[in-house]
């Protein structure tokens, strides 16, 4: 997919923040629109990431995707706060390229991960997009140690040429604002 670097503008930041607030303030139950499709994307994503198939994972993401791991537990405005990760597609491609250089010591040997996605809820939002909220439990093994990570995920899925793709992915780690160890893999 091409690299258009100009989509992260003021409007996109604003939409991201608004979407975050909307997702976090929902109190009514989901009626599960497109639940099967959403679960299929999330499970496929989990499998590709667990298997380290990053290039194929990138194909699941739109050309104007964002990957956001906040470093704050409560607030939610990346214009004003530093993040564990805040990547547009270009920085995600950098991240994958970094993993593939063969010289990334923090991933030599690589992290092995096993993630479980649960509590999947879906909502239709403006423009035919799908908002998906889920829980993530991830075990990471590396160098004789297994480390657990847990948190909530928010995905925005959109249809591109008839297939659901990830336009936005947020991972809110339970310990997002605490000192974090080696997260060199993709959550």
């Amino acid at each position: 997919m091409s690299e258009n670097a100009r989509y992260l503008n003021e409007a996109r930041y604003a939409a991201l923040i608004e979407g975050t607030q909307r997702a976090r303030s929902r109190v009514t139950p989901s009626t599960f629109p497109h639940r099967d499709a959403a679960e299929a994307v999330l499970y496929l994503e989990a499998r590709l990431l667990d298997d380290g198939r990053y290039e194929e994972w990138l194909e699941l993401l739109t050309g104007d995707c964002l990957y956001w791991v906040p470093a704050e537990a409560k607030r939610g405005d990346p214009r004003h706060e530093a993040c564990v990760n805040f990547d547009d597609r270009r920085r995600l491609l950098d991240r994958v390229a970094l993993l593939r250089t063969g010289y990334l010591h923090a991933q030599t040997p690589p992290s092995r991960t096993s993630r479980t996605i649960g509590n999947v809820e879906t909502w239709e939002v403006q423009g035919g997009a799908l908002e998906v909220r889920s829980s993530l439990t991830l075990w990471m093994y590396r160098q004789g140690e297994t480390t657990p990570y847990a948190g909530a995920q928010e995905h925005e899925l959109v249809q591109v040429k008839g297939a659901w793709r990830i336009r936005q992915k947020t991972v809110r780690l339970l310990n997002s604002d605490a000192p974090l160890g080696n997260i060199t893999f993709i959550l």
Binding site: A71, H80, T108, N182
Partner: protein, 451 residues
Amino acid sequence: MVSVSEVAPPQARGHYDGLVRADGRVHRTLFTDSDIFKHEMLKIFGGSWVFLLHEAEIPAVHDFKTITVGRRPVIVSRNEDGSIVALLNRCPHRGSMVCSLERGNAARFQCPYHGWTFLNNGELYGVPYRKGYGPAFDKRKRGLGRFPRLETYRGFVFGSLNPGVEALTEWLGPAREIFDWCIDQENLGPRGVSVVKGMTMVYRGNWKLQNDNNGDMYHAPVTHRSTAEMNLARHGTGKTLDHFKSDNNPMLAKYFGHGHKLLDQRPSIDSPWERARPLPGREVMGDAVVQRLGEAAARAYLDLTGRSGINLVLYPNLMMMGHGTFAVYEPLAVDCTNVRYYTALINDAPPEVNTLRIRFSEDFNNVAARDDNEIFERIQTALEDVPEMPWLDFSKGLDTDRERVGEDGAVTGNISDETGIRGSYAWWKTLMQRDFTPQALGVEADEGRSR
């Protein structure tokens, strides 16, 4: 006054001479021995000036932030009159930590155990059922222990538990000029800066490994080869780490005394904005700033969103990166350290500039710092487990014609030399053997051991 031999672990005074040698060798036990670590918490983090916070982190009256200083839980609080105090977060009654929040606003703190209440200057304010205490109860010695020394230098707040510590400007010495340069970079407009919390990382290794590493350019092309190769493959030449290709360049490693060291890469960094890796939103935000301010004025701001070329380590726990980001080393155990990053935002700058400063502050941590942490953990493991090889070698630059002493006493070496790190270890030895006992004001003095 308790002498150091009483508070020191089994190692006698003078013992450290043999562990830090003039030929650049440093003994592995400085990184692995928990008795030495405890002694460091007394002698270095209790004896030197230590960076506490930036005053913009507690801008309003009664704002506070909790931190640790050599493992001690500490509350840094802004009082009614605007002054800042640092208080030991430990109830004088039965020892509970009084405040458990990371930040907040409070005129008083109440201990959650028996309800003793303290003003935010540390003084005891109220004791439930006061009549149960006899006439010897001295309120003035039942406070939250206050740091005897606290000074703010251009927004940066330093404290010391050593009442006899040298004046802050004397401690800064010739490092002050570079510290000023860093602060001047962002001291634009009358409204000053705000400070946002950045990433916090923890690694399983001694705190000095990060401190050494920030005065070490020798490692960059090797440890960060993944970053360099990725940048080259993805974005061509001229990006981060491309400026350090050989040993023969005008950049400098410098030692200022009092443990402070510098990597000065400014001679090789012409334009931070051009050299910055492509940050998310760079083009649209850059254009917006140019459109609003015009090319020249915009450029001055945009150059503040890239690598300035300064790594200044103020010993023992502050690292200035010269583009608004600074790091604080927080020792947790002999083999465990937090590194907390913060970024100064310029209150009078266009908002896009501050967002780009934040995106830039994430960038190095995302792509390169992980490799440093990995190396620290490998070092820690090997130092702990290989007693047959007791020495680390910091001799690069020694006995060559590359080092020279300036008029201000600072020692300058080639950028890849271990000049600054050697200086820090010489100062480490001085601090560890300095004769004093850390103490706090407003509490009952220690009659015996300090820790």
